[in-house]
Amino acid sequence: MPQMQLREALRSAMTEEMERDENVFLMGEEVAEYSGAYKVSEGMLEKFGPSRIIDTPISEAGFSGLGVGAAMAGLRPIIEFMSWSFTLVCLDQIVNNAANVRYMSGGQFKVPIVFRGGNGIAHQLGATHSHRMESVYARIPGLVVVAPSTPAAAKGLLKTSIRCDDPVIFLESEKMLNDVGEVPEGDYLVPIGKAHVEREGSAVTLLSYGRPLQRVVRSAASALVDDGIDVELIDLQTLRPLDVETILTSIKKTNRCVIVDEDWGYCGMGSGILYKLQKPAFDYLDAPIEYVHCDEIPVPFSHPLEEAMLPSVDRIVAAVKEVCYR
């Protein structure tokens, strides 16, 4: 199996799907001549030409809505955002148009579109550029939200997302693009709506996804296993619709659960997951579910302050020990 960067995995998914279906195109700021702000689309302009790899002016509402209209007319747009933080200026297009058009038309139209880009805290970008947008979108009926945590998942999930007939919010991280991993060749597809049990264990169910999983949760799991706590680590992969079944199966075995994200806790992504779990998991739990999240402050610029607001290995280990009464 070839090793590649996550950025290359995304590129190969887009390239393969564009070769497979001429209705797929890529549009966004700097995606063409600049090769992508983070070089995800490097070489794609040369391969597919300017009619399918399309630079836009800085007009998020304009080009995100353009994508929705094009999808209503039968195309399959991939809309790249330089940062998901910038979608605060085009929420209306995603929430009111992409997500609602099918329902409001009584199912007359479908909106097969992928919105993708870097989500969350990408190190010292300050409060405006560090939004974790998953809880904003994962609460919207009509949208699908996915967040890969490995290069292989990035490729497989993106290919499935491009083929999906519903609008997909595809959450990457600028801090994951250089990650290297094995990526299956060819038509490798990861299902949407299925969580992945990354490590089987019996003592506690540890839930996370995307960037937080990659940044600290895997390290915390290793530390806990070294400490004799048999962690079951689940990569949620899809945040909407949530694979509650896989999570419950795990909790029935472990009777304990900790959720980790980089969102704010109140109304955060983990809060939504807790809402889905508290009733069906209640009878199986030996301790309240713990939720490790960011401090409830705007994201500070200074490196030590930013680090301090984020979930750390120590915080996760402490939370797991709390639910395990250790």
Partner: protein, 368 residues
Amino acid sequence: MAVANELEKRSAGRKPPVEESPAPSSPAGNGQHPTVSPQTQIARLRMMMLIRRFEEQTFREYTKPGQKVGGFCHLYSGQEAIAVGTAALFDKTRDYLINGYRCHGHSLALGMSPHSAFAELFGKATGCSKGKGGSMHLFDAQDHNMGGHGIVGGQLPLGIGLAFAQQYKKTGGVTFTFMGDGAINQGTHNESLNLAGLYKLPCIFVVENNGVAMGTQVERSSAEKDLAQRGCGYAMPHYHVDGNDIDRVIAEFGKAVERGRSGKGPSYIVADTYRFRGHSMSDPMKYRKLSDGSWGPEVEEARKRDPITLFQVRLQEEGLITDSQIDELDEQVGEEISQAVQRADNDPFPALESRFEDALAETYPLEK
């Protein structure tokens, strides 16, 4: 200052289009155009009358006891020439139309049955959107009616997206992107016009300028009073048309259609008109009344320029229709409307379980 004079000024004596185009080749114009048959002209008149009847019936259904039409409801009475003129140019096999929330008239003009529209207004299962859209969100995929959209200006990016797809697939189609004079002050107006001009998309932006955004007159909302100038700076022709004169609408929109089909890019047209009813059903139209509560002069002046009357008089003058034929038409559309209401009234509400349908196209987990 009489607002009516302002209305006339808006329509008359404007600068010609930035770019002169040849007359449209499609069947358009008035009786002087040999390509337009009397039957076609009469069918257009009939549709305008049908839309008026539909809206006035909607008004009654909304306001009478046991109100059947719920939610917000925005009537099109007075603006019919624009929708029907557009439909005259519209090629359902390749063109698209997208709209703001004042969408009843365009939907009927493109072919939606009054029954389907009434049923949607009543929230019935037989409505065009199965009772899930309502008055502001009438969609009809068959007619390429890409919907009424409830957020002011929110439909403009979708309009350029439809036009983008037409360009991408080289269909030769054009997209009519409708908005009111209120939408031009939204940010999406700037972004969409710029993208359309930049990519040379076959998008026809139509501003239906009825002079007032909800209760705020253009004079109090736009720094530039000549609204065609708001289409300036985007590399596209921008001009006015008398939106109450269907033949002028067809002729001027026709130029934009020609331009779009031939790959020259977008156009921006301000169709000046008048809204006989309030912004929505809850609008007492104080802004049109004198201090004693009676209608101000603008209303009387606007009635004189009723697009239906103007067209009727023209067809009579051309000898295409008689008084009694107009009465007959009126009776016909009246009957059609009352039958449609009755049918929609008797239709069932959607099954409660249907509320879970149509949110997503796929079932999950999704493996492809």
